[in-house]
Symmetry: D3
Subunit: 69 residues, 6 copies
């Protein structure tokens, strides 16, 4: 499957925190950068996401903001 | 200003495409990774975003999806 | 690729309208239901989306609102 | 009330899971398709959403991605 | 129709800018505060949004970020 | 830091509810209007958000919908 979302970055899961219905997944995308994702517990189970897993971080262009100093 | 959005990555604008009301901004965040952002033309003008500018890419955790092969 | 987004519905592109930087894609998901998607022109070109194409509509659970009468 | 969000699909709630602050609502939109929504517990209480309720699923066009095989 | 989105604020349209596929709508919500919305041209036509129109601004709780100095 | 998100409204936190991974923050933006935000617990701790804190509510234009009666 290929998807319209313009940002797709490979990384490795370094931390997984499960809440009541929502999990937080932290992914090392290299170069010392960690991205944090908030997804459903159901997705974590379905995709068998766990610490050490190779994953792709996916973000739509319209969800990326730009800040300047 | 500090913001609740969990993902804040420094980079350099490498391409700026202006549409009728919406611009696309491509940012090199290092390690060979380019992120694409879709923001209003008004924001581009207000923040004086242009090719070569040092910027921070900002994404909420709930806008970050995870994919696996 | 499998993705964390919980909503993935098969359909057929019935209309494609290209703007300056953003395209609108209308997808028939069956049962008389049409879904409208707003994505970048770049994604349309990259995925070769056109009228008649078989596609999958993908939506995160946190982007689905519920309304009642 | 009529809203700018382009996707409004009628359905029936088939499952409701309440978390600490966030609920997951599964809605049958017909044709064998189930959509999953993640909303606040407060909205669930306010709109009296429960299993069997007739609801409308609402999604903005910019939150609808397109994938191809 | 009542919707799960937690933020619903009444206001008056003070400016409407139409692009190729996307419009920007500026709404005065009182107290000197203007909110800016980016929606499809199709929604603008369908809801007959124009300068001076009484409207309700609607935002999901998960789309509201918090910043501090 | 200045950000591309077009909506930035000053207010005061009037209520903070922490869930397992997600918090709900209610902010009085004046004129009797309360906005509700759903952010990560991590952001609440990092920004030291608490009842009575002066904050800025930040929303992207593409996350603002318009409704009419």
């Amino acid at each position: 499957m290929r998807i319209s979302a313009r940002n797709q970055i490979n990384g490795t899961v370094v931390e997984l925190t499960k809440g009541a219905t929502t999990s937080h997944v932290r992914v090392d995308i290299g170069n010392g950068t960690i991205m944090t994702s908030s997804i459903t517990n159901e997705a974590v189970d379905d995709l068998r996401i766990k610490k050490g897993a190779k994953v792709t971080v996916v973000v739509k262009a319209s969800d990326v903001m730009i800040a300047v100093d």
